[in-house]
């Protein structure tokens, strides 16, 4: 595996991070089949802040999961950080996610028995980073999301917005190249939605982390700089948006 640098230099800024070719995902549906993704051709560069939008059932989550190596395509190809998702073993996929991809979920998915600190620390434990460095990185990540003072809280003691910010901290603590967020604001009110979008926007700017959102939330769509519209598993539109 080629070593990758975590910081992004201007030359690599426009290099391709994700590329899909004729990507299909077909689910069996009773006697029929359901084409959740239909010939998706897509290229995403380093540093993008991108939204996958579209009506419910259009395939946003499915595409995000394949990019995140949580799922594999039925046919076609998806290359993420130079690795072909369709040919990754289970363990290689886990390693890819562990080292290079951060996930943010609609329901936060924090580990309830761990403190905020321990939740954010988790990916670093998996990476085998030693404890003093872990502490620095975790506190850094909590600073970014503005929750350094809640390090010892349990998830149950946090509001939805705070929980999602912890999840963001957990996703970025290892400085991944790519963060995938599926409906990150669906459970949040407007104020909190704006807050976390601004947090992620700032991280995108400061750390050059690539963010891909799946959403139908207009508030989120307002922040993304590229909007890819899916309908019935096909890309219908691919638009650039001005920076807010």
């Amino acid at each position: 595996m080629a070593p990758r640098t975590h910081s992004t230099t201007p030359e690599t800024k426009n290099s391709t991070l994700i590329r899909t070719e004729n990507l299909d995902k077909i689910y069996p549906l009773g006697l029929n089949t359901l084409k959740a993704l239909n010939h998706v051709n897509l290229s995403i560069s380093k540093g993008e802040f991108l939204g996958l939008v579209g009506p419910s059932g259009s395939g946003k989550t499915t595409l995000l999961n394949i990019i995140g190596s949580l799922d594999s395509p039925t046919s076609g190809s998806a290359e993420v950080l130079g690795r072909k998702i369709e040919s990754l073993s289970h363990n290689d996929a886990a390693r890819l996610r562990n080292k290079h991809i951060g996930f943010i979920f609609q329901t936060y998915n924090l580990l309830p028995v761990y403190t905020v600190f321990e939740n954010v620390e988790f990916p670093l434990l998996l990476l085998g980073i030693d404890s003093s460095l872990r502490k620095i990185r975790v506190m850094d990540a909590l600073e970014w999301v503005g929750l350094a003072d809640r390090a010892d809280s349990k998830p149950a003691q946090l509001s939805g917005g705070q929980s999602q910010r912890v999840a963001i901290a957990r996703a970025i603590v290892k400085r991944p190249e790519l963060v995938l967020a599926d409906e990150p604001t669906a459970n949040l009110d407007a104020e909190n939605s704006h807050h976390i979008m601004k947090t992620m926007q700032q991280l995108n700017k400061d750390l050059a982390t690539t963010f891909v959102f799946a959403t139908h939330d207009e508030k989120v769509i307002g922040y993304v700089r590229r909007k890819i519209s899916l309908v019935d598993g096909r890309i219908e539109k691919d638009e650039k948006q001005p920076r807010r």
């Binding site: 999961n65 995140g68 949580l70 799922d71 289970h90 363990n91 886990a94 390693r95 890819l96 996610r97 562990n98 080292k99 996930f103 979920f105 329901t107 998915n109 580990l111 309830p112 028995v113 761990y114 321990e118 988790f122 990916p123 434990l125 998996l126 085998g128 957990r170």
Partner: protein
């Protein structure tokens, strides 16, 4: 190593549920060790009591004596050889004469063994000194079981019928001088003890004996014509065989206890794997492999065993230690266990028992924790994240 840390965090984080399991498991721990300790202690005690009361340091049997064939008893008597006579004189051995006889307690006919023992002997723990002459009647001792099965009480008179050396039937009335509380069946069931010299003269077998019991740790004389030496090891064979066969029964109880404890762990494990799908999905998204997750969940289950061992040690050591010092009273339980026991039972806990039980419980807990996790091996990350069964 990090998995160990995570597993620990997880089960401590699970709070009450963990402690309920740990406490339940620790009960099994302590109960298994306690029961096995009681069991070993009981066997040790029965063995010791049997040695003290009957086996001594080994026995010389008149050559035709066979304890399993009552018909041999008619001829199983002979005068003592000189070397045994010397041992008896120096208090190193006690001769016993055993004769078949019949009694009629409550009007029913019953065959018994009439055993003659010297009242002044101190080789065996039988309280033969209680065989004092009582108003012309022959004094007799019987054990508690014999008393129970015949309905005899202290001071009761009993007619005993036997045949003497010439084959002539004779009958005599004896008086129950005392009832001996004993734990040893070998001196109790179906037996009536009377003074040796009286039995010898009534049977017309002066100076004869059926066996000579040596005092503990007495060097047996070399081969004696017409007498067979039965070492203590030989005599204990039967008792050990009984212990072995009972041990199987003991192990079943052991297994049932273990099984119940394991059921609790298994249940927790199945439930947590069922309920924590989404957590597993999250762990996968964070980059854990399925096998690491299996390891994590197995370790979580296994840690219950380790915690239980610690908790068990916490209250088990003082508790079991206390019982080992003060003894355990088993009122009336003696006969149901099949062994008669003394007043109090002193459990014996060997290091092997404690280490063995700990290793076994940890091993079984780990296996039981591992079994349900195999389902995880087929879990798809996307299904897990949606909290779905696959």
């Amino acid at each position: 190593m990090y998995i160990f840390k995570l597993a620990f965090r997880n089960i401590l984080g699970a709070g009450l549920r963990t402690w309920l399991n740990v406490v339940a498991l620790s009960f099994s721990f302590v109960a298994i060790i306690f029961l096995q300790g009681i069991y070993t202690g009981m066997n040790d005690q029965v063995e010791q009591a049997t040695i003290d009361a009957f086996y001594g340091g080994g026995q010389f049997w008149e050559k035709s004596y066979d304890p399993y064939d009552p018909l041999t008893l008619d001829d199983a008597h002979a005068p003592l050889p000189a070397s045994l006579e010397d041992l008896v004189k120096s208090g190193q051995a006690a001769p016993l004469l055993i004769r078949p006889a019949a009694i009629y307690p409550e009007g029913r006919f019953r065959t018994i063994l009439l055993k003659g023992i010297a009242p002044q002997q101190n080789v065996l723990s039988i309280p033969s000194s209680l065989l004092k002459d009582g108003e012309g009647l022959i004094p007799a001792l019987i054990g508690t079981r014999m008393a129970k099965s015949t309905g005899l009480h202290k001071g009761d008179e009993l007619t005993i019928q036997w045949r003497d050396a010439h084959g002539t039937f004779d009958a005599r009335t004896v008086v129950i001088a005392d009832i001996v509380r004993t734990s040893v069946q070998e001196i109790d069931n179906g037996q009536v003890w009377i003074p040796l010299d009286q039995l010898q003269s009534l049977s017309a077998m002066p100076g004869h004996a059926t066996m000579v019991v040596l005092k503990r740790n007495t060097q047996p004389p070399a081969m004696l014509q017409g007498w067979e030496f039965r070492s203590l090891d030989y005599l204990l064979q039967d008792l050990h065989a009984v212990v072995r066969s009972k041990r199987i029964g003991g192990s079943i109880l052991y297994l049932v206890l273990l099984f119940l404890a394991m059921l609790a762990i298994f249940d927790t494990q199945v439930l947590s794997i069922f309920r924590r799908k989404k957590e597993m999905g999250t762990l996968m998204a964070l980059g854990m492999t399925r096998w690491s997750i299996i390891e994590l969940f197995t370790l979580e289950g296994g840690l219950h065993g380790i915690l239980a061992a610690c908790v068990a040690a916490l209250y088990g050591i003082p508790l079991l230690g206390y019982i080992a010092r003060t003894g355990w009273e088993l009122p009336g339980a003696a006969d149901t266990v099949g062994f008669a026991i003394g007043e109090k039972l002193f459990p014996t806990y060997s290091a092997g028992l404690i280490v063995g039980t700990t290793v076994l419980v940890l091993l079984v807990t780990t296996i039981v924790s591992f079994l349900p996790t195999r389902k995880i091996a087929q879990l798809k990350p996307t299904d897990a994240l949606r909290g779905k069964m696959s």
